[in-house]
């Protein structure tokens, strides 16, 4: 771990922070009008659901590096979430099931 490597890494991290911050605030800061189109308003209200669906499946299946344990963990998360358990309980429950399935 040389100083040169750390300096380069630090600069890269600052650049990463910039290309993470700008997409987050740009529309929020620039776009201040209320949208009139019913279609676009509905579209924007459905974004939270479509984005989480797309982020979760199928990627969750690869999240533990083992197909079998990931499927067990996914099933546990779905079951606990269906019972409307809190985020923490669902996350910890899935971790415990993956861990046990991997033993």
């Amino acid at each position: 771990m040389t100083d040169k490597f750390v300096l380069k890494a630090f600069i890269a991290v600052l650049l990463m922070a910039a290309v993470t911050y700008v997409p987050r605030v740009l529309p929020l800061a620039v776009f201040r009008r209320e949208i009139k189109s019913k279609y676009i308003k509905t579209f924007l209200k459905y974004i939270p659901y479509s984005v989480l669906g797309a982020l979760t499946f199928p990627d969750i299946i690869y999240s533990t590096g083992n197909f079998k344990t990931a499927v067990c963990g996914t099933a546990a998360a779905l079951f606990l979430a269906y019972r409307e358990k809190s985020l923490v309980v669902v996350a910890l429950g899935a971790i415990v099931v993956v861990f046990l399935a991997g033993l």
């Binding site: 630090f10 990463m16 019913k38 659901y49 963990g73 309980v89 415990v96």
Partner: protein, 240 residues
């Protein structure tokens, strides 16, 4: 959020709504701290990455590239593509925040928009204001940073089985957020299914293999919400 509620109460309401996210972030950021330090980064830099980036996929991807010795351009482009989805969330939130929210306030709480804080804020009835948003992002920022610090410090002492099990935590949180509203609303359930179906097609059909993971999620999100909005328009969308 009625006007009769004080700023202080709004902040604490947001703080309360953010605490489950904060705790859910700990195993994920712990894994990140572990990975970054095992990859050769100093502890302080691992913590600084989480504090300055506050994102999961983007910083995991970017940090892996740093460790692999990639160039600035490749790192920046990869992270940017992964984070384009935040523009859709930010646009969606622009219609959700109280219109009198100042530019400075938007620039401040915008830093804390993550997949989870965005969805939790979106599910609040009515508009959300600056103080609520500030409260909402405080816990997750702390949880993400503290978890990273813990993972970075203990780095080598964790058994492999446990660290790989923690990889599922982030996705389990997504499921915890998405399932309850999907039970209560058929359009929401259908939109989740449609976006997953499109995501599967883009990932597994070789014709679409040129699409990167970041763009795949964006296309599935836009098509899922776009098809949903055409099939199930919200009549009272203007009044909340």
């Amino acid at each position: 959020m009625g006007k009769y509620i004080s700023k202080r109460e709004k902040f604490f309401w947001g703080l309360k709504k953010g605490m489950p996210i904060a705790f859910g972030y700990i195993p994920v950021s712990f894994t990140f701290g572990l990975m970054a330090v095992n990859g050769g980064l100093p502890v302080w830099l691992a913590i600084f990455i989480s504090l300055s980036n506050l994102t999961s996929a983007g910083q995991f991807g970017g940090t892996n590239l740093i460790i692999a010795g990639a160039g600035y351009l490749e790192i920046v482009l990869t992270v940017f593509v992964i984070n384009i989805r935040y523009m859709m969330m930010s646009l969606s939130l622009s219609q959700k925040v109280e219109p009198n929210t100042t530019l400075l306030q938007r620039l401040i709480f915008g830093f804390g928009i993550t997949d989870e804080t965005f969805v939790v804020a979106s599910m609040e009835p009515g508009k959300v204001g600056f103080h609520y948003m500030l409260g909402l992002i405080t816990g997750p920022i702390a949880g993400w940073t503290v978890g990273t610090a813990a993972g970075a410090v203990v780095s080598t002492f964790l058994p492999e089985a446990l660290s790989s099990a923690m990889g599922i935590a982030l996705y389990a949180m997504f499921i915890a957020i998405i399932v309850p509203p999907s039970k209560k609303s058929i359009p929401v359930f259908m939109i989740v299914i449609i976006s997953i179906a499109i995501n599967l097609i883009l990932k597994y059909i070789p014709l679409f293999s040129f699409i990167s993971d970041g763009f795949r999620v964006i296309v599935a999100t836009i098509l899922g919400a776009g098809i949903g909005a055409a099939l199930w328009p919200i009549e009272e969308a203007g009044t909340d």
